[in-house]
Structure formats: structure tokens, C-alpha cells
């Protein structure tokens, strides 16, 4: 059995995290969560009423064994993100926050300047901060110092289904990071999720590819299996891809002379 994932002291049975936007019905979303085996699902603060304890969106997402990871989607500044985290903490009773600050409403690309400020402040307030970021290895180190509990670099523009177009940067991040690395955004097919886990990513977060599939429940299962396969492959140590042919007369055979 593959090793469990631990983030901020909490152990996860699954390395697949799920986003809950874009589903055609809350029932389908609930069924897809169940099929995915995920025990961490994100929930946009803007989609539910934090003052309404019986909000339907929250009810549908809350399943036994599933932890909620509220996100700050919609905020444009660190100040708004901190407020969003506090509202989420109040209504969902969790210190966990997926920090996403994207002032640009089209590509939803993260603003690193604001993200760093918010991470520092939220970490001081005792939040478990998982920031959504560009695949920038140096910035990941800054977030480590700022008190993040994991980093969530994007594989490709969100919703693009382009897969791991930032692979070369992700490799550096994974190699150098002291924090768990969750590849977020851009993963469009189970094979791409498997690839991220094979590379050594600790987990992936998937939304569009599952929510928008013709059969979201079956797609959730496909991702579950792909993530398991990718992780098992990683732990079993993949054979190295040889960059050059192995010479039939070894270059160092003169040492035997």
C-alpha cells in the first residue's frame, strides 16, 4: 500500500483533491466526490452564505470522511483574502484555507505579491495555508519561509486541460520543496494526473476535468485510479529514461587495460 500523505499533521488517504465548481447538479457533485475517494474537497466561499448554517452547497459537499478546504476565489488583494479566510473559519469551523488571489478574472492567474503578504498574515493567525501559485520554484521557497503548509503550483492555466505544461518548473519545485506539493489547475485527463504523481508531486487537485465530463462520476473514479497508479509508480522507483545510448564499448574500458 502506498504511503499516506501528511499535510500540517493531518493524514490523507487519497492524493486526489477535488474542486466543487462547475458541476451540473449538486447531486452529481456529491456522487463524484464519493467515487473519487477524495478526503479533501475545496469549496468557494463566494458560493455559499457563511451566515446560513444550513446552506445547501455546504450540505452537499459535507460527506463523512471528507474535509472541507474553503478557497478565497474572487478576492483581488491580501486584505480581502484574510477576511475571506476568517469568514470561512467562522462558518465552516476549519483553519484550513486554499489561498487564491487572482485579480485577473479571465485566466485566474495568481498574484504572487499579494499571495505572499496574505500567507504571512494568515500563518500568524494560525491558519493552515495552501496557496495557489504559478510554478515558480523561488517563490515556493519564499512561501515556505512565510509559513505555508503546502504549495499548489499550477500545471497549466486553470480550466485549460493542457496537462503539465509547466513540467520543467514543477520538477524543480518537487525536488527542492520542504512542503508537500499539490499540482493544481490544468490537469485535464487521468493520465496527466498519473504523470504528476509519477514525477513525485504529493497530490493533485482536479475540478474541470471531472465536473465537465459527460459522466463525472466515472471520470472521478478514473482519476482516483490514475492517482493511485501514479503514486505507486513513483514509490516503486521508475526506471531512468536514458538520455544517450549505452555504448557497446564502454568509454572507460581503458581502465581495465
Amino acid at each position: 500500500m502506498s504511503e499516506p500523505l501528511i499535510i500540517a499533521g493531518r493524514t490523507f488517504g487519497s492524493r486526489l483533491f477535488l474542486g466543487t465548481g462547475k458541476f451540473g447538479s449538486s447531486q452529481l457533485m456529491a456522487d463524484a466526490i464519493a467515487a473519487s475517494g477524495s478526503d479533501l474537497v475545496t469549496l468557494a466561499l463566494k458560493r455559499f452564505d457563511p451566515e446560513n448554517r444550513s446552506d445547501d452547497m455546504v450540505k452537499q459537499v459535507s460527506q463523512p470522511g471528507v474535509n472541507l478546504l474553503p478557497n478565497t476565489s474572487g478576492v483581488r488583494t491580501a486584505a480581502e483574502a484574510v477576511l475571506a479566510a476568517k469568514l470561512a473559519r467562522q462558518s465552516l469551523e476549519t483553519d484550513w484555507i486554499k489561498l487564491e488571489i487572482h485579480p485577473d478574472p479571465r485566466y485566474l492567474l495568481p498574484d504572487h505579491h499579494e499571495t505572499l503578504k496574505a500567507t504571512e498574515e494568515l500563518a500568524k493567525l494560525g491558519f493552515v495555508v495552501l496557496p495557489y501559485i504559478n510554478a515558480d520554484p523561488v517563490f515556493c521557497k519564499s512561501l515556505e519561509s512565510a509559513g505555508a503548509s503546502a504549495v499548489m503550483p499550477l500545471g497549466a492555466p486553470i480550466g485549460s486541460n493542457q496537462g503539465l505544461s509547466t513540467a520543467s518548473m514543477l520538477e524543480i519545485i518537487i525536488r527542492e520543496s520542504n512542503l508537500p506539493v499539490v499540482v493544481d489547475a490544468g490537469i485535464g485527463a487521468p493520465s496527466q494526473a498519473a504523470q504528476a504523481l509519477e514525477m513525485g508531486a504529493d497530490a493533485v487537485l482536479v475540478n474541470t476535468a471531472i465536473a465537465v465530463a459527460e459522466n463525472p462520476v466515472q471520470m472521478a473514479l478514473a482519476f482516483k485510479l490514475a492517482v493511485q497508479a501514479g503514486r505507486l509508480g513513483f514509490e516503486a522507483k521508475l526506471g531512468q529514461v536514458r538520455r544517450a545510448a549505452v555504448a557497446s564499448s564502454p568509454l572507460t574500458s581503458f581502465l581495465e587495460d
Partner: protein
């Protein structure tokens, strides 16, 4: 952005695209231009858009529908947002020849007071509405500032998202209102063509440039969303819509934090007896909506209750991302239907609950809440 750049406006771009040149460009569009536009869906140029709304694209309608639908699902998922208009006043200082609120129409006018607005809010809340669009006729500038500031303060605390479709305002008013929690502003140019003065003979609305530069003022004021559109049927809908695309292209590069919403209100015969010169057919309106989506995968595309249930049922799944339902277009109409003059006749009377069922059977979810009302406020609690 340096100071010089920040003071330029869309008017400069507009002046570089004379109406007659655009007409000539439209006449030159070929099948090859359409195929070129279809080859990079979601990220087109204004010229691509013109190709997609041209007569040459008519044979591609089915292909356009498939592309638009799949782009929309990818970008917005299987969701459609709900809003409802909240008409506060049918007073108006203008005489627009096509509008039910024209001051030339000798009918009593009303402006809702706080108690009346609260009665409207109660009905909307009971309908499950969380996003509202505040609508009024045009006031004098001072009255607009005073009344809208008050009205937004009455409405703001009750909804997740409050936007407005009112007269163009100065930048400082937009700035102030958005700090009070106003989310977005819709301001349609009506027509970008040379016949604008003919339709707007009196009142402040005669000032074409003031209106044309409204989105620039909105962008500088930092509103979250702005809405563009033309009144389809006033002039050549293809030429007019090209300028909407040109305007949108300009705005999204300059005010990159602001979301763009496009509407396509189609003129229908009003009580005042205005008949559009160049009515837009159902087939043409479908082509237009699909073209907007294929031109830009990020647009919010809004379809109101001006359109029929049949049209809406079939069109929504193909690219629309925002709909109204249960709308009343007369001030006070939610609490007291038909008591006051309405702006236009509703064509689809179905409630949000009924629309929810319709969408559900199409595999789509009607989203009522997609905003946290504290985002964007000047002082955070």
C-alpha cells in the same frame, strides 16, 4: 500605466474605425475568413468576430453551436447564473424613441421610497434571488448621485451581488458606489452608428461621447464587472455588434481586472409604437450569441426575459452564462404587479424555480450565489 495612457479612452480607437469602413470590411468577408475565425475558438480578434456574424458564416451555424457549447462548458462548467432586475424608477429626462420610459409618454411616473424598495426586496428574496440588477430611468446628475447612493445602501445588505443599469455617471460616483459594495455596471451604447442622434433627440443621453467613454470611467473606478451591448434592431446589428467586440477588446487589455458581460437586448414593438427598422431574426440572434462566445471564451453572456421560453430553453445551453427570471420591468412590480409603467414587455414569465427545473433537465445548475459581499468594500470588518 503612465498618466497619458490612463487618460486615453475608447473614443480614440472608435475614431479609427469609421462606420463606412466597417461596412466595407463586412462586405468583403468570405468563407475563408469564417474558417480562419473558427480555427482559434475563444481567442479571436474583432475581425474574426465580424466574420462570424457575417452572412458568410450563416452556413456554419451548427458547427458554431458545437464550438460555443464546448467552450462554455470548459470555461464555466455546467452552470448558469441567475439575476433579477430591480426597477426603482420610471422617471426619465430623456426622449429615446424606442423606450417605454421616454418622457414623451404622458403616463404617471414613480420613484420607489425605502419602504417600497424593501417590499420589492422581500419578494425577490422569497424567489431565491441573490444577484440583483438595479435599473432606473435617467435623472439629473445630482439626483442620480443622491438617490442611487441611498438606494444602494437599502439594497446592498440583502443580496450577495448588486449591479446596476442606470445612466452614465462620473468616475468619482462609480468609485464611491463600488466602495459601498456595488459589484458591476451595465451601460449599453444602444448604437455605435451615425444614427445615434436620431434616436436620442433630447436630454443628457444625446451626448454620445459621454456614454461611449463610460466603460473607461468604470475601469478606472475599479468596478468588478462591466456590461456592454447594443439595442439590436436600431441600426445594422452586425456593424453595431462589431463595435461591441472592438470595445470589449480594448477594455480587457486596459482594465484587465474587470470582468466583461455582454447582453443582446432585441427590440420588440413597444407600447409607444416604435418598430425597429432592421429587426433581428431568431436565427441571426443565435448566430450573434455563438459568435460572441467563439470570439471570447471569458465573456459573461446574459440572456434576459425579453426572449421567449422556446428561444431561451434552446439557447441557454449553447453559450449563455447568466439569465434573469421572474422579472418585472415596472418599479414596484414585484410587490404590486402592473401598477406602474413598465419599460418593456416580458416574454418569458417563468420564475427562478421553474428555470431551475428547465436547466436541471438540460444537465445545468442554476447558480444563485457566486459572490461574497464583503469583497471589494472600502473598509473590511
Amino acid at each position: 500605466m503612465n498618466q497619458k495612457q490612463s487618460l486615453t479612452s475608447f473614443a480614440d480607437t472608435y475614431d479609427q474605425h469609421p462606420w463606412d469602413d466597417t461596412a466595407a470590411l463586412l462586405a468583403s468577408i468570405t468563407k475563408a475568413d469564417v474558417q480562419q475565425a473558427l480555427s482559434h475558438p475563444g481567442v479571436g480578434t474583432p475581425k474574426d468576430f465580424l466574420a462570424l456574424i457575417s452572412p458568410a458564416a450563416a452556413p456554419f451555424l451548427e458547427e458554431m453551436a458545437a464550438i460555443s457549447q464546448s467552450l462554455t462548458r470548459k470555461r464555466f462548467g455546467k452552470t448558469v447564473q441567475l439575476y433579477a432586475p430591480l426597477y426603482l424608477s420610471n422617471e426619465c429626462i430623456n426622449s429615446c424613441s424606442y423606450c417605454g420610459f421616454s418622457k414623451e409618454i404622458p403616463l404617471p411616473r414613480t420613484r420607489l421610497n425605502q419602504a417600497q424598495v424593501e417590499a420589492e426586496i422581500a419578494v425577490l428574496k422569497a424567489m431565491g434571488v441573490e444577484h440583483v440588477l438595479v435599473v432606473t430611468g435617467d435623472f439629473s446628475e445630482k439626483q442620480a448621485r443622491d438617490y442611487l447612493t441611498e438606494a444602494i445602501s437599502w439594497i446592498r445588505p440583502h443580496f450577495a451581488q448588486v449591479s446596476m443599469e442606470v445612466q452614465p455617471l462620473p468616475e468619482e460616483d462609480y468609485h464611491f458606489l463600488s466602495q459601498q459594495g456595488l459589484h458591476g455596471v451595465m451601460c449599453y451604447q444602444e448604437t455605435y452608428g451615425p444614427r445615434y442622434p436620431e434616436f436620442h433627440k433630447k436630454g443628457k443621453k444625446r451626448d454620445f461621447r459621454w456614454r461611449l467613454e463610460t466603460p473607461d470611467r468604470l475601469g478606472r473606478a475599479g468596478v468588478h464587472k462591466m456590461g456592454l451591448g447594443v439595442l439590436l434592431g436600431l441600426d445594422d446589428w452586425r456593424l453595431d455588434s462589431f463595435y461591441v467586440a472592438l470595445h470589449a477588446s480594448y477594455l480587457q487589455k486596459k482594465y484587465w481586472k474587470t470582468r466583461l458581460s455582454i447582453s443582446f437586448p432585441r427590440l420588440r414593438p413597444a407600447k409607444i409604437g416604435f418598430s425597429p427598422d432592421q429587426p433581428v431574426t431568431d436565427r441571426e440572434l443565435v448566430q450573434l450569441i455563438l459568435a460572441y462566445r467563439i470570439f471570447n471564451e471569458n465573456f459573461e453572456l446574459a440572456l434576459s426575459t425579453r426572449e421567449s421560453p422556446h428561444f431561451r430553453n434552446h439557447m441557454i445551453p449553447l453559450g449563455v452564462t447568466s439569465i434573469s427570471a421572474g422579472s418585472k420591468t415596472e418599479p414596484g412590480g414585484y410587490a404590486n404587479p402592473k401598477a406602474a409603467l413598465e419599460q418593456f414587455e416580458i416574454n418569458d414569465e417563468r420564475s427562478p424555480k421553474e428555470m431551475d427545473q428547465v436547466l436541471r433537465s438540460a444537465g445545468l445548475e442554476l447558480v444563485t450565489r457566486d459572490w461574497e459581499p464583503h469583497f471589494g468594500l472600502s473598509s473590511l470588518p
